[in-house]
Each structure stands twice: as C-alpha cells, then as structure tokens.
C-alpha cells in the first residue's frame, strides 16, 4: 500500500473526530459560551464531510477547456458556503442570547442559572412556574 491509500480516509477520520468532539463539548460543558464553541466545532465537521469527497486529486475548477479532463465537483462548495453562513448566523445569535442571559442572570454557567430559576420559583410559591 502506498501513502495515498493510507491517507484516503484521513478526511473522514478527522470529520468523525470533530463531530464527536463538538457534540461532546455541547453536552458535557455547562458554560454557555463553551457550549456554543462545541456547537460550532460540530457544525464545522459537516463542512468537511461535504467538501472532502467533492475534491478529485488533480481535478481543476469546472471550467471547460481543452487541456483539462478532470474536474472537481463545485456543488459541495456552494452548499457549504450556505452552511457556513447559517453556522455564523447561529453562532452570532447564540452569543447574543448569551450576552442577554449574562445581563439578566449575571452568570453564564448553566447550573447557576438553573439554581436562580428554582429559587425564583420557590419565592413565588409555586413549584413549577
């Protein structure tokens, strides 16, 4: 086996690692900012999942010319440009909400926020507000 064969699955391995790592951060961390970072890592892994198979080794941009016969697929790039925009918008909105939460609760730790909600609910005298 030559080196190229060894590395043929490299992008998939990186994709899966990023995917699992991102999802783990979202689930395991209580800090609202860290959760958003995890979410971004998770979304980034998808970019790789789409982009990597679209690239052919030695392929060029799909502009028809007599001297080229191998082209890379441009569609995944276009799709992922859209997905990147969506990811940025999600991150921006998430951070904006985190800022508002910080203003309202004076904390960005999930457990502290939950505790504040519970004490507020107890003060009102109803268990599940």
């Amino acid at each position: 086996m030559n080196m190229a064969a060894h590395f043929s699955h490299f992008s998939y391995i990186v994709t899966v690692l990023l995917m699992v790592a991102g999802l783990f951060i979202v689930i395991a961390r209580g800090n609202l900012i860290k959760k958003l970072i995890g979410l971004s890592v998770f979304q980034t892994s998808v970019y790789l999942l789409y982009i990597a198979p679209g690239k052919l080794i030695g392929g060029t941009a799909p502009i028809l010319a007599p001297q080229f016969s191998v082209y890379s697929n441009p569609l995944p790039h276009v799709l992922i440009l859209t997905a990147i925009v969506v990811g940025v918008a999600t991150l921006a909105l998430g951070l904006a909400i985190a800022v508002r939460i910080r203003e309202a609760y004076d904390s960005i730790e999930e457990d502290e926020i939950l505790a504040l909600d519970h004490t507020a609910a107890d003060a009102q005298g109803n268990g599940s507000p």
Binding site: L39, V86, A89, L93, G94, G127, S128
Partner: protein, 504 residues
C-alpha cells in the same frame, strides 16, 4: 405565463420580502400592516395552490422550476396534495395570529421591538412555507434554519428572563437537530449525486440497503425527531412554549412541529420508500414505543403542571405521539390519521394558546407585566371571562377527542388503522391516553368554573375583541372540521393514498 403559474414562488417570496421591508419601516404599525398583508397574500396563494391541485385531478403535482433551470439541476418547488394541505395550515395560522399579535404583544414586548417582532414572524413564516414547498433536500435545511433562527429570536422576545434560557436551550437543541439533518442529506448526496428529492428517490432504489443510506436514514430520523419533539427529544419544547410571547406560542404550537412531521413523512414515504423504512428496519416498532411513551408520559406530566401554558405544552408533546403513532402503522388510514391530526391538533392547540394569551393580557394592569397563567391566578375565571374559558374547554374537548370536535376524527382513523393491523390493545391504549387528556383539561375546568374567585377580582371583563375573534375563529374551526371533514380528511386521505401507494 400568467400569475397563477407563479404561485409556488410567490408563496415563499411574499413573506420573505415583507421581512426586510418591516425592518426598514421601523414603525410597529407600518411593519404590522406589511407583514399581515404578506401573510394574507400567502394564505390566498396557498388556497390557490390547493385549488389548482384539486383541478389537476388524480395525483396532480405542480412542479415549479426556480430560474427556469429544469430539475434535477435547478431547485424545484414541488406542490402536491400533502404539501398544499400543510401550506394552507401554516399560512392560515399566520394570517390569524398576526392580527391577534397587534394587541397581544403590546403588553408582552417592548414597543421599540415591535417592528423586529413582525420581521422575525415574516421570516419564520417564510422558512416554514419554504420547507413545505421545496423539492430540494438542501433547500429544506436552509429554510429550516431560516425558520429556526427566527423562532429563537421570537422566543427570546418574551418578557420573563427565563425566555432567554428557553431560547438558548432551543437554539442548542435545534442546531444539533438541523446539523443531524444536514449530515443525513450529505450522506444521501454522496451516494446519489443529486439533491432533488424525486430524483434521489429514483436513484436510491438500487442502493437502498447500503450502509451510508442507512446512516443517512438514522441521522435524518433523529434530527427531524428533535425538531418535531418526539418523546425523549422534547426537552426544549415545554420551556420554549411557556416563556415565549403568547402569540408566538400559538403560532409555533400550530405550525413548527407540524412542518417537521411533514418533512419526516416526505423523507420516509417519498425518498427512502416504505420497503426500506418499514419492512427492513425495526423502525415502526421503535416509533410505536416512543409514541406510546409520549401519549402516556407527556400527558401524565401535563396533569401536574401549575402553569396553564406549560400544561398545554406537555399536552402538545403527547399529541405529537398520536401523529407519530399513525405514521408507524404504514397504512393509508394510519397516515391519513397522522396528516389529519397534524391539522386538527394545530387548530385546536392554536385556539387554546390564543385564548390563554387573552387571559394573560386581561389579567394585567395597563403597562404592567402580566402574571403567569398559573392555576392560583385562574380561580373563578369563568365568571370574569366566560367566552375565553368556554373556548378553552371546547379546544380541550378536541384534544380529548370528543365526537363533534376535530380531534375525534383523527382518533377515529387512528383506531381504524390499529384495528386493520389487528392490534386491539392499541385501541385500549388510545382510549386510555385520552382519559389523561380528560384529566388535564378537567383541572382547568375545576379551577376556572368551580373555584370561587378571590375577592375584588370578579369585576374585570373579557379580553378585547381583537384577541377573542381570531381565537374563536379557530375554536369554530375545530368544531367545523369535526362535523364537515371534506377539506381536512378529504385532503389527508387523498395525500395518504398517493404516498402509501407510490411515494409521490
């Protein structure tokens, strides 16, 4: 080409254009006028499409090529019986909720944010309509994110600070769900080389049980289930519905999860096909189990809630169980029950949440933040607000499935489907879970009708007509569609027959 030929594009473009216009106008009243006009135009468009489908005869499909690029190269908008039915539900709810919003958000959202509320509402409507009408897999994801991002903002607009945490929680869960969906679509694209759903279905036939296709099915199922709040994935829903502004809750409860159900039906029946989803995999059994958990678990939890909005939010999770239960049967009657319940539950729950919004608005002194609609605040409400309470009771009867209300029709078809499969015990389960609905609706009846009002609180009157009329139109619709089912059940049966037989 006449205007009628461009209805599929107008369906999405009108609310999409209304959003930036609303932002530019920067005045609550003007933004309201623009977005409401767009929503009514979208409703008219949806009805126009529904009529066109009806005129086209058996199995007619409207295919609209965006930019005149023929599918599978270009993006295709595809309207059939099922999608036109969902379009009517979504745009109709928007057309009713928007006029209601005007006086509802006056007390719940700061006046300087009103124009943003209308812009976000228009974007949310655009996304939901786009998901329903598009025939392109990646387009589904883009529209899903448009509607989801707008939804997070709408929820965060609630006055209570817990609205922020609810919106954040929903953002995390919703983004994970959407990313799962896009991973699933990615695998399908890698295997078929196409994003057009109809084209994809044709190409999947040869490779249907290869591993990447199964992985795609798994990712799509989990992702969409998160969005539709299938039982163990429903954690975001109760908080989001409880703390969002009343009008937002009503709109989301009636449309957002329903559109997700539509996407699930589309992928299961039109793309993957029943032989893969229902014959080769244990998916029907899993879905049956989860549906039963939702029907019993969530309805049971609903009984013990003290906040009326939260009670009906848990009830929504339970009612989603009936919809997925119908799906799991893989029969014409089962699928028809799902589709018709999607509509019937949408209008009943929309009516209930609109009426609760009326209670919230009426119980606040002018300018003050309204108290939460907890049972402690609702004692003797029926004396103060007889129309509102009676409306909630009628909506509740539809949730229970009493004959004469729309909910009965869906339960009847669910039971028919269960009997077809020879599963008698399921009939018992459906009836038993309806008793749980009786219990939580009765809690409201008991507090509102049989408890004495606290002294000094029996003078205040009904909610304003601007709040009551849209809500009562929906209440009337739950009764109407319980008696005359030619639109709701007719469309659902027609759609189900085509989906189950041919996947189109």
């Amino acid at each position: 080409m006449t205007l009628a030929a461009h209805l599929p594009a107008l369906q999405v473009v009108l609310p999409l254009l209304a959003a930036p216009v609303a932002v530019l106008l920067r005045r609550g009243g003007l933004a309201f006028a623009v977005v409401t006009a767009a929503a009514w135009a979208a409703f008219a468009t949806a009805i126009g499409l529904w009529l066109q489908i009806g005129q086209g005869g058996e199995g007619h499909v409207i295919s609209y090529h965006i930019g005149s690029w023929p599918p599978p190269w270009g993006i295709e908008y595809r309207v059939d019986r099922l999608s036109s039915f969902v379009l009517v539900l979504v745009s109709g709810m928007a057309a009713l909720v928007l006029p209601y919003s005007r006086s509802s958000i006056a007390r719940e959202i700061a006046p300087e944010n009103h124009y943003l509320y209308y812009a976000m509402f228009a974007l949310c409507l655009t996304g939901l309509l786009g998901i329903t009408i598009t025939g392109d897999a990646f387009n589904i994801f883009v529209f899903l994110e448009i509607s989801s991002l707008a939804t997070y903002v709408l929820i965060a607009l609630g006055r209570d600070r817990r609205a922020l945490t609810a919106a954040y929680q929903y953002l995390i869960m919703g983004s994970i769900g959407a990313t799962f969906i896009v991973i699933g679509i990615g695998f399908l694209y890698l295997m078929t080389g196409t994003l057009n759903l109809a084209d994809m279905a044709g190409r999947l036939g040869a490779i249907e049980s290869s591993r990447p296709v199964l992985v795609a099915l798994a990712f799509l199922t989990v992702g969409i289930s998160l969005k539709l709040a299938l039982f163990p994935l429903h954690q975001w829903l109760p908080n989001a519905y409880t703390h969002a502004p009343s009008a937002v809750t009503a709109f989301l409860a009636a449309t957002a999860t329903k559109v997700s159900v539509y996407v699930l039906i589309r992928f299961y029946f039109s793309v993957f096909g029943e032989s893969l989803v229902f014959d080769q995999l244990p998916l029907p059994q899993v879905m049956l189990g989860l549906s039963l958990c939702a029907m019993f678990g969530a309805s049971f939890v609903a009984i013990f809630q003290n906040n009326l909005k939260r009670l009906f939010a848990y009830s929504s999770v339970g009612q989603m169980g009936y919809i997925t239960l119908g799906l799991s049967f893989d029969s014409v009657n089962g699928l028809a029950a799902s589709i018709v319940h999607l509509f019937n539950h949408g209008i009943a729950k929309g009516a209930i949440f609109l009426l609760i919004g009326g209670i919230v608005a009426a119980s606040a002194a002018r300018g003050a933040v309204s108290p939460a609609p907890t049972f402690a605040n609702l004692a003797g409400l029926a004396k103060r607000m007889p129309l509102t309470c009676f409306g909630i009771v009628l909506g509740g009867l539809s949730l229970i499935g009493v004959p004469g209300t729309a909910g009965f029709i869906s339960k009847w078809y669910l039971i028919l489907a269960a009997l077809e499969k020879g599963q008698w015990w399921l009939v018992g389960a459906i009836l038993l879970s309806s008793l749980l609905a009786v219990a939580y609706v009765w809690r409201f009846v008991e507090v509102a009708y049989f408890r004495a009002a606290p002294p000094g609180q029996d003078a205040r009157g009904e909610a304003s007509p601007a709040l009551l009329i849209p809500a009562w139109l929906l209440v009337a619709a739950t009764i109407w569609f319980g008696l005359d089912t030619s639109f709701s059940l007719g469309s659902a049966l027609d759609a189900a027959q085509h989906l189950v037989r041919t996947g189109r």
